[in-house]
């Protein structure tokens, strides 16, 4: 079941055939249905239905005298690490228990300005550290297709909100695949824009040089419209780029005739699940059939991505999470003196995975280890970025790869952190290189969705969307079978 599309909602609401209030009421009803019972999917961690309805009502009132916003009447779900004014922002962590931000993230403000109505905050791996949405202080979120399985993560709640038709679009965040991988596991579209394309102001930082707000959509068009609404320069984020944002939905009919699609061989290793390979091959054949030129390419430093990622991201996280000290806001536990308060607060407030990464990050930044780990990782990171630059400079417009090495795994199946980290193997590279990437459904295995990934040069999301539109249309129902 999917929600009405962003385009349809906008048109119908603007024409007065439906009201935003009715749409939000329906979304809330669906959210209650999805969340109900022992098998509830645990999508939202905070909702303020009354406030959402109030906002929808206010939208109806000002409809007459304003041009309809790009997302008029569209209910949206927001990952719990993005600051909202009326609902708490807790990052799925006990340490931010009850914390309500006194300011609003730029992306949320832009959504509301475009006429969208945030209806709730979605579950996530604590501080976005995880690939399964199992590691939340609020318990795991379940995959809507098989409730015994994970939805992927860390933006699992947002992915499920879209996959279950509560909302057509939702905001997630990416540090190393946290939108694309759950999109793949849930059979929807997930976009990680170019680093700097979308403001991070109000996104609670995990690893600042990798973090980017991402967008889930039921379809490529929903995702394109969602990204268009939140993208663009923000003077409050010094790393956001002042580069014009094109209308991504303009690529809907652009086709792939003159497109050169690269297949990086490192993403199709011998060990790749043959069924996933088969679905990828079929998608590639569709693109070829539409007139795209297919070329095998190489990104030779791909195997460095996971080790580099798991040095850079924890290093930055160890510093970013230092502010959660029990002094000014959030959870606090008294202890013996100042140091005791810090220790009690942080060791109780953070979960195991967050603690592991803080320790890892503190270690790699320590005097005597900095050069061997952090500095070396940054050097390796630039090699990974160079790989992409070289391939795109050679005339390749977009790359196509599998999004994840597997389909959604059972809840509790992966207990070894390193094994969990490997589920980011095809996605972490885009974050390290800063290039845009997205996942879209390309078929199912044993009923479970499989995602295909498109990657493009910096700030060329438009070309990536054009390819995605074409592939989505060519695959049709095949993508969900």
């Amino acid at each position: 079941m999917s929600a009405r599309s962003c385009a349809a909602l906008r048109q119908e609401t603007a024409a007065g055939r439906i009201t935003a209030s009715d749409t939000v009421r329906a979304a809330v009803a669906r959210a209650r249905e999805v969340g109900a019972g022992r098998e509830g999917l645990n999508v939202f961690v905070h909702r303020d239905d009354a406030d959402a309805l109030k906002q929808a009502g206010a939208l109806g009132e000002r409809l007459a005298d304003t041009t309809p916003g790009a997302l008029l009447g569209v209910p949206v779900a927001i990952k719990d690490n993005i600051a909202t004014l009326t609902m708490p922002t807790t990052c799925g962590s006990r340490i931010l228990e009850g914390y309500v931000s006194p300011y609003e993230a730029t992306v949320v403000k832009r959504l509301r300005e475009a006429g969208a109505i945030p209806i709730g905050k979605t579950n996530m791996d604590e501080f976005a550290m995880g690939s399964s949405t199992e590691h939340s202080a609020y318990g795991p979120t379940r995959n809507p297709i098989d409730h015994a399985r994970v939805p992927g993560g860390s933006s699992g709640g947002s992915a499920v909100a879209v996959a279950t038709g509560i909302v057509p679009i939702a905001l997630g965040s990416e540090t190393g695949g946290s939108v694309r991988q759950p999109a793949a596991f849930c059979g929807i579209v997930g976009v990680k824009p170019t680093y700097g394309r979308v403001s991070r102001f109000g996104l609670v930082a995990f690893a600042s040089s990798l973090d980017q707000v991402g967008v889930f959509g039921a379809t490529v068009d929903d995702a394109a419209r969602g990204l268009g609404a939140v993208a663009g320069h923000d003077p409050m984020d010094s790393t956001s780029a002042n580069i014009p944002v094109p209308e991504y939905q303009a690529g809907a009919d652009a086709g792939v005739k003159d497109l050169v699609v690269g297949l990086p061989k490192e993403y199709f290793p011998a060990s790749l699940d043959p069924e996933i390979r088969r679905l990828c091959d079929a998608a590639v054949e569709r693109l070829r059939g539409l007139g795209a030129t297919i070329r095998e390419v190489s990104l030779p430093h791909t195997d460095l991505a996971i080790p580099v990622y798991y040095i850079v991201a924890p290093a930055e996280a160890s510093s970013n999470l230092a502010r959660f000290d029990g002094v000014r806001y959030g959870f606090r536990l008294e202890g013996e003196g100042l140091r005791g308060m810090y220790e009690a607060t942080r060791s109780t407030g953070f979960g195991a995975e967050v603690t592991r990464r803080i320790l890892l990050g503190t270690y790699v930044l320590s005097a005597g280890y900095y050069d061997a780990y952090y500095r070396k990782a940054q050097q390796a990171r630039s090699l990974i970025a160079d790989d992409f630059r070289r391939v795109f400079e050679s005339g390749v417009h977009v790359l196509f790869t599998p999004t994840a090495p597997s389909t959604a795994f059972p809840i509790g199946a992966i207990s070894d952190p390193y094994e969990m980290y490997l589920s980011d193997i095809f996605t972490a590279t885009a974050n390290l290189a800063g290039v845009p990437a997205m996942s879209l459904p390309i078929g199912r295995l044993g009923g479970l969705p499989v995602g295909g990934q498109l990657l493009a040069p910096h700030f060329d999301e438009a070309r990536m969307f054009a390819a995605a539109y074409a592939l989505e249309r060519a695959l049709g129902e095949e993508a969900h079978r």
Binding site: A207, S318, S319, A367, Y370
Partner: protein
């Protein structure tokens, strides 16, 4: 353990003091370094705060361009090379008044490197030059308030994010006196280029000192300690003397100096409680801020816009106004006083007379009122016209002082005051003769004695006329008339 003096008599002269200073200076910006909160001193606790300087989740820093301009200006005034690319870095440590758990500073790629200042002249005549290792930008932390609420510490984050520069000297300083001279010259330069209030009481200038001792002739540096918490330049000098003596005492007794932070309490140094030296700050480049890239043309423009620095101004005052060394020192103490003097001197055309008035009446008045010369009611042009009235014989020197007092009180132009108060000098022979005759008639004995050669009585009689004329009589003319009258 405290130390006020070495435990036994030691020979300090056999040892050399080696000092490097780290000076933190608050830049004179309206807003903080990474947010638009006011950087003003003295607001109610936590009044000047926002999500950025409170380190709320999701907030991000945005660099204040004005602060970069001031920091660059300071660095150039200290003869540093400003780097085309510098990098902000995170200095990580936990403290309640450090809200992010890290301070945004600069580490291995600071704003500026390799500067120097001259702090005086050696006996042999060569200048004493102190190297400046680096100038970097950073944000201030908040303030922990321990004495406001019993049993708890309160945090005031008004200072959090206020822009600072840290100026690190080479270990070129060899005495407490040189350290004092370095600080005074540094303060004067920073005042001249108008980048900071450089006020130690308000905390806009803070000094940490690294000190070590070595035997004279030794070239290797001894183990240093860092002395903090001095709140005046003389406090720095005294703290250095005390800490140096402590080092020498330990070393002469065959002991070792432990590298640690010492706190000055006004009379003695004691080790800081926390082992600050053992901190691992885990510096890494600040990912929320791109590298700071400064175009050469921009740096050149800042250099061109630098005002005249104290040394250049002193040289020019000697050349242009032929003033004594002492006058120059006094008049160039700060840029505003020098500007004031220079305006008076230029408008009046007689530099020495201008210097006498500025150093005399003007500075005495300012000292009494505590006012800054930049806001002094008597503007240079008015003072110059008063000096003109004196030179042209329109008013007497005595009357000029009265007029000046009225100018301070009213701000009116001197000619108007002189007119209104009847202070214009009277050189009309007829009127002067009338007064003179009256005085001679009133003091016949004195007049007679003067006629008989008792020259000192001339002054007495002239004084009596001045009194009669309420200071308006032209004393020169009066002298001539009296001499003529009594010798005829």
């Amino acid at each position: 353990m405290t130390a006020t003096a070495p435990s036994r008599t030691v020979n300090l002269d056999a040892w050399e003091m080696v000092v490097g200073l780290e000076v933190h200076v608050q830049l004179k910006t309206r807003t903080k370094l990474f947010c638009s909160c006011s950087a003003d001193f003295g607001a109610a606790p936590n009044a000047n705060t926002c999500p950025v300087c409170l380190a709320l989740p999701g907030a991000l820093p945005v660099l204040n361009e004005r602060a970069v301009g001031l920091a660059t200006r300071a660095a150039l005034a200290l003869n540093c090379t400003v780097q085309p690319v510098s990098i902000f870095a995170r200095k990580n440590y936990f403290y309640p008044d450090l809200p992010k758990g890290y301070q945004i500073s600069q580490f291995d790629k600071p704003l500026a490197l390799d500067g120097w200042i001259e702090i005086g002249t050696r006996a042999a005549g060569s200048p004493i030059r102190i190297g400046i290792t680096r100038v970097h930008m950073e944000e201030d932390a908040g303030k922990s308030v321990h004495d406001r609420f019993p049993g708890v510490t309160a945090i005031d984050l008004n200072r959090s994010g206020v822009p600072l520069i840290e100026i690190v000297s080479e270990p070129d300083i060899r005495s407490a006196e040189q350290a004092g001279a370095y600080l005074r010259v540094l303060k004067q330069i920073l005042e001249y280029v108008d980048v900071s209030d450089v006020n130690m009481e308000e905390g806009s200038l803070r000094v940490d000192a690294n000190v070590s001792a070595r035997r004279r002739g030794e070239t290797k540096l001894g183990t240093k300690t860092e002395v903090k918490n001095m709140n005046s330049f003389s406090g720095v000098e005294r703290a250095l003397e005390v800490e140096f003596a402590r080092h020498v005492g330990v070393l002469e007794a065959g002991g070792m100096i432990e590298q640690q932070t010492m706190l000055w309490d006004g009379t003695a140094v004691r080790p800081a409680r926390s082992k600050e030296g053992s901190h691992d700050y885990r510096y890494f480049p600040e990912p929320d801020l791109p590298p700071l890239i400064l175009a050469t043309e921009w740096i050149d423009q800042v250099r061109k816009d630098l005002p005249e620095l104290p040394a250049a101004r002193r040289a020019r005052f000697a050349e242009d106004y032929k003033l004594s060394e002492y006058d120059i020192e006094v008049l160039t103490a700060n840029a505003r006083l020098a500007d004031y003097y220079e305006s008076v001197a230029r408008a009046h055309g007689e530099p020495k007379a201008a210097a006498n008035w500025v150093m005399g009446e003007v500075m005495a008045t300012l000292k009494t009122s505590g006012e800054d010369v930049a806001r002094f009611r008597v503007r240079p042009a008015d003072l110059a016209s008063l000096l003109g009235l004196v030179r042209d014989g329109v008013v007497s020197h005595t009357a000029a002082k009265q007029i000046f007092t009225r100018m301070v009180a009213t701000g009116d132009p001197p000619a108007q005051i002189a007119e209104r108060e009847g202070l214009i000098k009277i050189d009309d022979d007829a009127q002067l003769a009338v007064w003179l005759e009256e005085v001679i008639a009133e003091n016949p004995a004195e007049a007679e004695r003067l006629r008989n050669g008792e020259k000192k009585l001339q002054g007495v009689l002239i004084g009596a006329v001045m009194k009669k004329s309420k200071g308006r009589a032209d004393p020169k003319k009066l002298n001539q008339l009296l001499t003529a009258r009594l010798t005829s």
